[in-house]
Amino acid sequence: MSETVQDVSALIINKLLANPKVPRDINGSSKIVEDLAFDSLAVMNFVMEIEDELDVSVPLDRLAEIRTIDDLAECIVSLKKGG
């Protein structure tokens, strides 16, 4: 299975919208901490859910570089390709 960044981004947005506290107008360029008001623990816990969905582990040091939903999607796609 080879997901594109757009596929993964859409999956992340769907998963986020399942949480009623998340603003309804988010898109790929929404910033995870600033726009979604997630603290560091909430980000790590959310990423864990995505990891299970896509059978991938995102190391915490990679997470530190991620700002937007698209950044997270790009990181996951690159990890799945072996990067």
Binding site: D39, D55, V56, S57, P59, L60, D61
Partner: protein, 398 residues
Amino acid sequence: MSIFDKFRGVEQRLAELQAEGGRNPFSVVIERPLSSTVGIIEGRETLLFGTNNYLGLSQSPRAIEAAVKAVKARGVGTTGSRIANGTQSLHEQLEQRIASFFHQKHCMVFSTGYQANLGMISTLAGKGDYLLLDADSHASIYDASRLGHAQVIRFRHNDPDDLHKRLNRIKDEPGAKLVVVEGIYSMTGNVVPMAEMAAVKRETGSTLLVDEAHSFGVLGPNGRGVAEAAGVEDDVDFIVGTFSKSLGTVGGYCVSRHPELELVRLHCRPYMFTASLPPEVIAATMAALDDMEAQPELRTRLMDNAARFHAGLNRLGLTTGKTVSPVVGVVLETIPEAIMLWNTLLSLGLYVNLSLPPATPDHHPLLRCSVMATHTSEQIDRAVEIFGEAMARLPASA
């Protein structure tokens, strides 16, 4: 833009906390301890149910005597690092004593438990390696993951299957895999499913480090911790712990059967670049360990007290973790409720720890209580009673 701008959020939260309850929960002063279980706070005698002093040994007459003797003979400090002028014969004696207690060959003693985790984990898991952490790990473990250069992967709290799945994902990667778990998790009192974690370690060929900070002196037939209790000590590569809980002093340790622990001494920055433990602390620690070994009944009393307190809180309708352990985390729904309850408890003469998210696992505030072997049944019952009185005083809206 000031260098202090980043602190303004916390400043505001702290002001709100104080507005809601009157006190700064992070600045409670125990004016002086009257015993291991009672201290003077705000001029009042207060029951101590939040000190991690599980066996009450901070007030051990044998440890006090040993500290006085050592300080008179050797002075108050070493003024140096273990790898320079800071190693005295007492440090070597303590390392041999701790190694022998755990039936292990090698031991490194650190100046604090925090540094033991920080140093061991950051040094063992190097560049190209993988560090697998329980999601609810203590701050010292997370900080170690930032100090070191390994890739860091979290697994779900106390979930061996999830750990296995995550190790499988990286099974073809060349780096070593270090798995870190805690014996008893400090916020909730949850106990690690140690036998299952050890099985995952065996099946995947990973390296296993257990932080026994809250389980040393508490679990296992001889108090060696969760690995002893689960009968899997041979599967554990490194046991890390602290003297600042069950032994009532300060300092940290790592024991291992691996002779390479001696090489870690020369790579481990939190060990190398700090002053070593002062003589009186070492003498008191060894004496407290003698106490612990001579009085196995302390552990029985501790677990009986934990069961009594846990059941008492549950009878009041309070939510706690399911496992009975000396750490009892009372889970509350809202932060204002937690703040009001914590303040009322203290005014009524009961000290527990207020723990707020994100320092708590699932966004719920906790009133974290720790039980001691030296609490009397009357003190346990009184603490439960105070919880009941404090809850009755909560406004209906909280």
